[in-house]
C-alpha cells in the first residue's frame, strides 16, 4: 500500500510541474523555486508532514521535499538552540543532500561527456 501511496503522491506533484511548464510562461528555474518555497510553506503550516507520513518517499523525493527538509530543520534547531536556529537549521538539515549533490555532480562531470538531446 505504501508503494501505491508514494507513486500517487509523487506522480501528482510531478504532474503539477508538467502543467506549470505547459500552461504557464514560468521558466524551469522558477518552477523549481516555487516547488521549494511551496514545500517550506506547506511544512510550516503542518500540511506537508501529513503528506510525508502518508506517502513517504513520494513526498520527500520531489523538490517540495527539499523545502520540507529545510523547514523541518529550522523548527528542530529553534527548539534546541533558540531563535538563531531559524537561520542555521535549514542548512544543517540539508547539508548532507547538498554535499552529496556537489560531490557526486563533480564526479559525474569528470567521468562522463555531455550528449545532445535527441
Amino acid at each position: 500500500m505504501s508503494y501505491i501511496n508514494a507513486f500517487l503522491v509523487g506522480g501528482i506533484i510531478c504532474a503539477i510541474g508538467q502543467v506549470l511548464i505547459d500552461k504557464t510562461k514560468l521558466t524551469p528555474a522558477r518552477i523549481l523555486v516555487v516547488f521549494v518555497v511551496a514545500g517550506v510553506l506547506l511544512t510550516a503550516f503542518g500540511v506537508y508532514q501529513k503528506l510525508v507520513d502518508f506517502a513517504g518517499a513520494g513526498a520527500t523525493v520531489p523538490l517540495t521535499g527539499f523545502g520540507y527538509t529545510l523547514a523541518k530543520g529550522a523548527f528542530r534547531e529553534v527548539e534546541q538552540t533558540g531563535l538563531m536556529g531559524a537561520l542555521t537549521g535549514g542548512f544543517k538539515a540539508a547539508a548532507a543532500g547538498l554535499g552529496a549533490a556537489i560531490f557526486f555532480g563533480y564526479i559525474m562531470s569528470v567521468v562522463s561527456k555531455p550528449k545532445a538531446k535527441r
Partner: protein, 339 residues
C-alpha cells in the same frame, strides 16, 4: 542619387550576382528530417570529434566553407570576402571557424536572419564592383545555442510546447559576378519590428510581424505581385509563427496560402521528430536554402523564390531584464534566369 534603390527599403541590382554554388552540412537530427536527401554531409554526432559544442560548430563553419569552394572550383585566395555570423556571443563560431582561412572577413549578427543579411550585403559588394567572389554563410548548433540562450543541456530542463529546435548545421552560398545564375535580383532590407512579445519560447510570434512587414514592403517597393514567385519562404517562424505571418498578410489583402512555406517547418519531420514548433537558428534557413531550395532551383522546379530569413534580436541579458523581443526579416529575391 542612389539609382539602384527603389521604394522604401529595396535594392535592384544592375548586374545581378549569381549563386555559383552552395554547401550545407547538418547534424544527425536534421539528417533524419524531411530534407535529409538535400544536404552535402550529415555529421555522425553533435561533437564531431571535437571536445566542445562550440568547437564542433566552428568545424561546421570551416568544413562548409571548404565544401562550397570545392563545389565552385575556387580556392581561398580567389575569394575577396567572407560574410558570415552565428548565434554565439561575439560570433565565435565564425571567428574561430574562419581563423585559418586567410580570407577578408566581415562578421555579421542578425540572429537567425543572418543568411539573408549576408547574401544581401554580398550581392551589393558584387554589383557595386567591389568583389567578384564572395562567400555568404552562417551556422548554428543546438547544443551551443541552448547554453547561450536557455540552459546548459546538463541541467536537463524541459522544453515548452511553443519552443523551437535550433538547427545544427552550416550553410554557405558562393556569390559571383559570373553570369551563370541563379541570380539575386532584388534585396529588401527589413526594419526592426517589436510587437511586445517577451516569451523566448515563442520566437515565431515575435518574428512573424517582421516577416509580414518585409514581404509587404517588398511587393510595394517592386510593384510585383505574390503570383510572381513560385515560393515565398520565411526563415524560422515555425508552425506558430508561420500561421501568424499568413494571417497578418491576409489582413493586408495578400493571400499566399499555397506558395508560402517556412524553413523551420520544412526541415524536420514534424510528426516523428519531437521538435515542438519546428526548427530555428541561423543554420536553419542557411541549410534549407543551400541544400533544398538551391537544388530545386537548379532542377528548374522553382524559378523564382523570395527568401525571407527572420531573426529574433534579443540576448540572454535583455530576456532577464524582461525586455520584449525585437524581430527582423530580410528578403532576397532569387531568379533561375533573367527573363
Amino acid at each position: 542619387m542612389a539609382e539602384r534603390h527603389i521604394g522604401k527599403q529595396t535594392v535592384i541590382f544592375k548586374n545581378p550576382p549569381s549563386i555559383k554554388a552552395t554547401a550545407s552540412i547538418v547534424g544527425p537530427k536534421e539528417g533524419k528530417g524531411a530534407l535529409r536527401q538535400s544536404f552535402d554531409y550529415i555529421i555522425p554526432d553533435e561533437l564531431w570529434g571535437e571536445d566542445s559544442w562550440e568547437k564542433a560548430e566552428s568545424k561546421l563553419v570551416r568544413e562548409t566553407l571548404s565544401k562550397v569552394l570545392q563545389k565552385g572550383s575556387l580556392s581561398n585566395d580567389q575569394i575577396e570576402y567572407v560574410l558570415g555570423g552565428d548565434l554565439l556571443n561575439q560570433c565565435i563560431a565564425a571567428n574561430y571557424g574562419l581563423r585559418e582561412t586567410d580570407i577578408p572577413f566581415f562578421g555579421l549578427y542578425g540572429a537567425c536572419s543572418t543568411m539573408a543579411e549576408s547574401m544581401s550585403l554580398g550581392s551589393m559588394l558584387i554589383d557595386g564592383g567591389y568583389a567578384d567572389n564572395v562567400v555568404c554563410m552562417t551556422s548554428s548548433h543546438f547544443c551551443s545555442a541552448e547554453r547561450q540562450f536557455r540552459y546548459p543541456l546538463e541541467l536537463g530542463s524541459q522544453r515548452a510546447p511553443t519552443s523551437q529546435w535550433t538547427v545544427t548545421g552550416s550553410g554557405a552560398a558562393l556569390l559571383t559576378s559570373d553570369q551563370t545564375g541563379p541570380y539575386i535580383r532584388y534585396v529588401t532590407t527589413g526594419k526592426i519590428n517589436d510587437m511586445g512579445i517577451s516569451d523566448v519560447n515563442n520566437m515565431g510570434a515575435a518574428m512573424a510581424p517582421a516577416a509580414a512587414d518585409t514581404i509587404l514592403t517588398h511587393f510595394a517597393d517592386t510593384g510585383l505581385t505574390p503570383d510572381y514567385y513560385d515560393l515565398i519562404v520565411t526563415g524560422d517562424l515555425g508552425k506558430v509563427g508561420k500561421k501568424i505571418c499568413l494571417d497578418l498578410l491576409n489582413m493586408n489583402g495578400i493571400d499566399l496560402e499555397n506558395r508560402f512555406n517556412d524553413c523551420g517547418v520544412m526541415i524536420f519531420n514534424t510528426k516523428d521528430q519531437d521538435t515542438h514548433s519546428g526548427g530555428s537558428g541561423c543554420g536553419c534557413s542557411a541549410t534549407v536554402f543551400a541544400g533544398h531550395l538551391y537544388k530545386e532551383m537548379m532542377k528548374g522546379n522553382l524559378k523564382r523564390v523570395l527568401f525571407v530569413a527572420t531573426g529574433a534580436l534579443m540576448s540572454p541579458i535583455s530576456t532577464q531584464q524582461k525586455e520584449s523581443i525585437p524581430g527582423i526579416a530580410h528578403a532576397v529575391s532569387i531568379h533561375r534566369s533573367l527573363d
